[in-house]
Chain length 881, copies 2
């Protein structure tokens, strides 16, 4: 016996997700817990993988297996393909392991042909429905499975409506639709040079191949890249007997969440349409009704539906996203899956489920993808400005957040606008998968049609992107590139603002304010903080950033870059004078001007951080970064500085480097010009003494010397730093505690960390540079070829985004081990941008760092990732027992 | 009791070199084996070190110890300082641990004053000699210890000779010299505002301080840097009772080698001057006579001298460099040390000593500093051209080699000429330590005065630099910058050529031919080859270089760079067309043009290498290196290529990188353009198949993929390489053996070598890039600050010259261990420039590499270094037993 590639719904379970896909495993699970699911079967992801090995064709053994399962379905229902009395019709749906909404394709009513349509008329006693289904099927099949442009069919439909002088599709008669079926079949024949396939088994085979092929269509590839889904998983295909929501007024279809996916409220949330098929709801073609109204329409069905949602939630222990159909008063469950939700909803649901005793705190914390918190942390509109702003329209609050930007109507224009540095809002009648890149790139999304579960809404929530959907007050003309709302006309390039939490659209740009973090968020984060071992600091070099970070829970500054202070407009002249100095005394004079300014910088940061530790990195970039590099600017600067153009140009020229990344920077500057680090050291220490004296608070500055590769460099620089500190203590007759440490960012430093730890009281891993030098990838230049690396499957992710644990991470581990060997209690942290990336934070936890440091907005993310690291560790330990 | 800082000659031994310096320990050794050495004592190097701690002053306890030893000398000789009957006079000489000829200072006749001169007259019955000594002492002491310009004294001497109308110093009478003494004392008084010190103890103290201080004079610092002598060793000072070679016709002085230092011939080789002091010989002021003539002058003394040389050579088991003085027919040994010699002499002496049963082969091999072989390997003049060249003059063959260059007369002009890219010959009346930098920078050295042991000759031999000394046929006017030789006038900037092996000076530039390696060299190198474990390959990318390397003993090619082939004028257009191609088919067309050329390259190299292994590195540099970068050249190229300036400029622009070292190069190119490596692979394999078919020789090409950082890169590229090889084998219906491996030059590759070894059959350490990335030092930019690192004592040596064993070497060790863990027999080599540097070769031996690869001229050096590594290892093992 060969492999089993096909599973009936009664053969699977939710644990078989990787084989049956999300949808298939859940259909099986629902079948097995006794919920009403139309019978069907699932063709496995393994079949999909083999499909690609077989040259993108189904192979005979598989076809045989499919036929056998089809017989089972026919037997169960007593229906047969092409039966003129009671024909079997099926849906064919993709079902990947990870839900990929809208990215994969679905075909309904498969099995319809000239015979089955007659059977369908008989069995439903509804000729109009039968022909409507037939014409829909021909179009869908032709479009999805055979690549014939949908527009060709839609044009015929529009023409028919014009001829009949009707507005709605539903106003067309059975006779009209029967004509359309013939016209549609003709289109097929014109396009493909053969008749529309009448044999359902052929239809099925082509449809399954289309689903498998769609796994690698460009939109799916982009979606996977965007959501970190491996590309070698494959998709399953679900073949399920049809039930009909469009069989008249006691039929309908809908989608629902067991709780509110926007805010987590414990109340069924969803929409339905009577006399419609499921795709009508998702595609946003008609605007559906709130689920609560179903109670009025069909109270018994609603009651049954409510019971099913409770069963599902208790069974899955999480909020579910459900699709259902009512066929002539009978409820059928077509899908259940864990519901996508906003970060706010995710936290509220998780905390509620803990309080309801359904899950544990650890489970709750694992449920939140740390990056999702991003959504909670970003600014909202300034209420004052908001109250004065003109409201354009109101739509559905599809995805929370606040966005301002210029209006564009096409994804590619958004991308171009972004490349010009503009912030842009994507405005569409409705979005489709082709718009993915524009959605990613936009500040926010506005659609005129579609509900809370439309493509735009679902995708935007997944991305944490602000979205107002179904805004029927506006008309969007994508061709003329204009929005009309009453008398108002908004043209491409005009500013609008969206409030995704209320669904309001405003004219113009609106300033924003920092978010308030309240409600369940505080409770949730208190669990996080009780759980984690890693401290979380921030990278900040201004009082403003420091303040934001402290609000987000930063426990110190892990990286205060001093060069940004040097770039300030008021200071750059002194910095430049320092650089062009010909001798030490000129240089000292310029440095003396900078001293009080740097001291003030540090003092103000200390005031924000109070007694929290502050790690200050001494000057790092090569000096030429502070000088202009085109002749015009050099000439201007030479004039202001009172030196000759020639001299200044020579200085600029002599400082230029072939590979500045590997050039005269970091501690190497201090070997040449120790007086620069001495000035900075003095500013750091004097500011701390001032803070102690004036404010009575003792802070312990951590002086960090960058780019150390050899302990002798550190020894040399440290000697100057210590001497300067000694001078300041003497002058002030006062002292404070301080630490002196180094970045570990040069591979050689990691490898010789035992030697370096003799002189360094702390290590801070500079994983940006460690990645650059460890791989030999210039961050400035590697974007181009790293994309190719990812495309060609050489790398999963750019190592600049996620710590490369096998290589760069291994260097970190070596450095940690060697450092501790020399200095048992050496303080260890990370200040590269990886410090706010969840998987990297987990890695830092594993190798025993004391803290991570990241940008202020990523502090809560890092806190949660740190807690998850502890929980996962506990789980591993338990598994090991 | 405190430290002992002073040792009588009878207290020391040759084993105490680090404490007593080379000269002092050998004087002690000679004293103890019963040779005639004038009594004296040595002030230790430890005293020198303490001298710097004491603020460059002698301290009371040391002075006391010196006085005590002085008393011993006085007692031994029955002479006293300032004695009017029989005064003690001493020499004060520096004596560092490593011989530093001419760099440190010497004072003779110390102790002379107005009383002692009377005693000297009485004891020698030679008034003229006494006053001559006195005036010499005043000048020397004033110059060396007190910094009074020598010229002031020499002017008075010249004036006196003019007044007396005599030519030679020796023509001046005692009365003349007595007057000069008074004039010299007046000069001293004018300059120093005090009388010339009459107290010998004061003279001695000042002289010792001067010697200690001279340890850190700029010339000494440069010399040490040049010769890798640590700067914290300090120098000893030798105080020795004077004997006189200038006491008339039965007195004399000389220097000799126990064998010929130029070719190693077993025959005493040296020079002497009758009625002269030692400095006269060394300084080259009078041209001395060959030592063999001493037999005619004083046969008994010569016989005694010959016996002494035998005793010394047998005692020291090596060729000695000896200074002696004959005082009134009595022989005194003033110094012995291991004689500096040319590489040829070194090898011949070592082989002879083995054959004479004095040393073992291992000892012989350890005696040769591998870098010395450099001298043997460089070209000599083309005999044909030489025979047609005009001989200018003939001098002493002071240091072998052949040099052509423009004439310059001042060290600084040589340095400037070098910086302009010129090759220059330093021409001087005589050289002095001030000329060191010019000597280093020059192609060769020509002096008009001085013998085989003059400053110029000794220093040049040490450097392996060609030198013709004592060329009395020419007159050198350093001020007018002209050489006159008979009717011939050679001006600054004219070309001359020197043959250091014959002492001939030629007019104009003469082309050179490769050296013949014969005689003892072959025997010596056969021992080397029997001893070493490491194989030695060469870095070569042309048949010409390969041929040279094979002659020098290369056992294969360790690095054949393919990019140099791309730069050839005939090919660069196709290379450029390949680069500016917009699509794969254009690119393939350009590559198709390059294929036959590359195939020919490899075929011709195989023919030279016969069955030796050849490692070929696929294209490594970033593509923009092949394109012009200024507008003019871009415009020209655009025209020839028939594309628009704008398009080409855009391409050039798009390929430019911030940090090209870390950019799109090496295997990264092949990820983007696999067809480039495919073409190269095809050329490599087709050439090998051609070679097999046409010449019947099977070569095993080793295909090396550069810049691998992650095994997935290698896997990707290797797949293309293997596919192409498969295609070629099929097309030709033939096959050969080959290997596929990688450079280990990216730190991450070293750290993950276990993974990489799964795909790589060999590793070749690219220590240039590994050093760049491991340290984060751009080789192009770091020159500037690495000098400061060495100056400030942070590094001993640039890690680009000598492998940094603690860091980069540690990465190599990690890679070796990991690589062998995965693939026990993985072939390991090095192809960075360190592969020809002796200490790095030793390191490669220690960590278990299979071979080193270096430039052709360094092959013999690497072979010897590899043998020495084995011998040192044996010694360590024996010590451990």
């Amino acid at each position: 016996m060969g492999n089993k590639y096909v599973y009936g719904f009664n053969e699977g379970s939710k644990e078989m997700k990787s084989l049956l896909g999300g949808k298939g495993s859940n259909l099986a699970e629902m079948t097995n817990i006794g919920l009403p699911v139309p019978p069907g079967f699932t063709i496995t992801t393994e079949a999909c993988i083999r499909f690609y090995d077989e040259g993108q064709k189904l192979w005979p053994e598989l076809t045989q297996e499919i036929y056998e399962h089809l017989r089972n379905v026919e037997d169960t229902l007593g229906k047969r393909f092409s039966d003129e009395e009671n024909p079997l019709l099926v849906s064919v749906r993709s079902g990947a392991v990870f839900s990929m909404p809208g990215m994969m394709d679905t075909i309904l009513n498969l099995g319809l042909n000239d015979k089955a349509v007659i059977g369908l008329i008989k069995s439903t006693e509804n000729e109009r429905f039968a022909y409507d289904s037939y014409r829909r099927f021909i179009m869908m099949f032709s479009d999805i499975a055979m690549g014939i442009p949908k527009q060709r069919f839609e044009n015929l439909l529009e023409k028919m409506k014009e001829e009949r002088n009707v507005e709605q599709d539903t106003d067309l008669t059975a006779a009209d639709l029967k004509i359309l079926v013939e016209q549609f079949k003709q289109v097929y024949k014109d396009e493909k040079n053969q008749d529309f396939p009448q044999e359902p088994l052929v239809q099925l085979q082509l449809a399954i191949e289309a689903v498998f092929s769609s796994w690698n269509n460009p939109r799916a590839v982009i979606y996977r890249r965007l959501h970190d889904i491996p590309s070698n998983l494959g998709t399953a295909v679900n073949v399920q007997s049809m039930v009909y929501g469009n069989m008249g007024d006691t039929s309908g279809t809908g989608v629902a969440f067991t709780r509110n996916p926007a805010n987590g409220e414990n109340k069924i949330y969803g929409e339905f349409l009577m006399n419609a098929q499921g795709e009508d709801v998702v595609a946003g073609i008609r605007t559906p009704k709130p689920i609560s109204e179903l109670e009025d329409v069909m109270p018994e069905v609603f009651q049954q539906f409510r019971d099913v949602t409770k069963i599902l939630e208790n069974h899955y222990k999480d909020m579910q996203d459900i699709e259902f159909t009512i066929e002539k008063g009978k409820l059928f469950m077509l899908q259940t899956r864990t519901g996508k939700r906003t970060a706010q909803a995710a936290i509220n649901v998780a905390v509620d489920l803990v309080n309801e005793g359904i899950i544990s705190k650890d489970e709750a914390m694992l449920r939140i993808e740390p990056n999702q918190l991003n959504q909670l942390l970003h600014p909202t509109f300034d209420a004052k400005v908001l109250s004065e702003s003109q409201v354009v329209a109101k739509g559905l609050p599809a995805s929370p957040g606040a966005a301002s930007g210029k209006v564009y109507f096409h994804a590619k224009d958004i991308v171009e606008a972004k490349s010009r540095g503009e912030r842009a809002i994507l405005v569409r009648q409705e979005t489709s998968p082709e718009d993915i890149e524009g959605m990613v790139t936009s500040q926010g999304i506005l659609t005129a049609r579609g509900g809370m579960t439309s493509h735009a809404a679902v995708v935007a929530r997944g991305m944490g992107k602000c979205c107002v959907a179904g805004c029927s007050d506006i008309r969007v003309d994508e061709e003329l590139r204009v929005i009309r709302a009453g008398d108002l006309t908004i043209n491409e390039g005009d500013f609008i603002s969206l409030d995704g939490s209320t669904g309001t659209v405003y004219l113009g740009e609106i300033s924003k304010v920092e978010p308030e973090l309240s409600g369940h968020f505080g409770e949730f984060m208190s669990w996080v903080d009780e759980t984690r071992r890693l401290k979380v600091r921030t990278n900040a070099d201004s009082p403003r950033d420091s303040k934001v970070a402290v609000k987000f829970g930063a426990e110190g500054i892990g990286l205060c870059r001093t060069e940004h202070m040097f770039f300030e407009e008021a200071r750059i002249p002194a910095v430049r004078r320092m650089i062009v100095s010909n001798n030490e005394s000129q240089r000292k004079k310029a440095l003396d001007e900078l001293l009080p300014l740097q001291r003030k910088d540090f003092y103000e940061i200390y005031q924000v951080m109070e007694s929290r530790p502050v790690t200050i990195r001494l000057l790092d970039p090569p000096l030429h970064e502070f000088l202009p590099n085109n002749d015009k600017d050099i000439e201007d600067l030479a004039k202001t500085m009172g030196i000759s153009f020639r001299d200044l140009k020579d200085t600029v020229h002599s400082l230029a480097e072939q590979n500045p990344m590997l050039g005269h920077r970091g501690c190497r500057l201090a070997v040449t010009y120790p007086e620069i680090y001495r000035m900075q050291t003095r500013a750091i220490i004097e500011a701390a003494l001032d803070y102690k004296k004036i404010d009575g608070v003792e802070i312990m500055p951590e002086i960090m010397i960058p780019l150390i590769g050899d302990v002798e460099e550190l020894r040399f620089v440290k000697k100057h730093v210590l001497e300067e500190i000694g001078l300041v203590f003497n002058e002030r007759s006062d002292s404070i505690k301080y630490m002196i440490g180094t970045m570990i960012e040069v591979p050689r430093a990691a490898i010789t960390a035992d030697e370096i730890a003799v002189e360094a009281e702390f290590f801070s891993f500079g994983t940006n540079d460690l990645t650059q030098m460890g791989f030999g990838f210039s961050r400035d230049d590697s974007g181009k070829f790293l994309n190719e690396y990812v495309e060609r499957g050489i790398f999963d992710k750019s190592p600049f985004e996620v710590i490369d644990q096998k290589g760069i991470g291994k260097m970190m581990e070596i450095a940690v081990d060697l450092g501790k060997k020399t200095r048992e209690n050496i303080k260890l942290g990370i200040c590269g941008e990886h410090g706010g990336e969840p998987s990297s934070v987990e890695f830092c936890h594993k190798i025993g760092l004391d803290y991570v440091s990241c940008s202020p907005f990523r502090v809560p993310i890092a806190r949660l990732a740190a807690a998850q690291a502890v929980i996962k560790e506990r789980m591993t330990i338990q598994l090991d027992k």
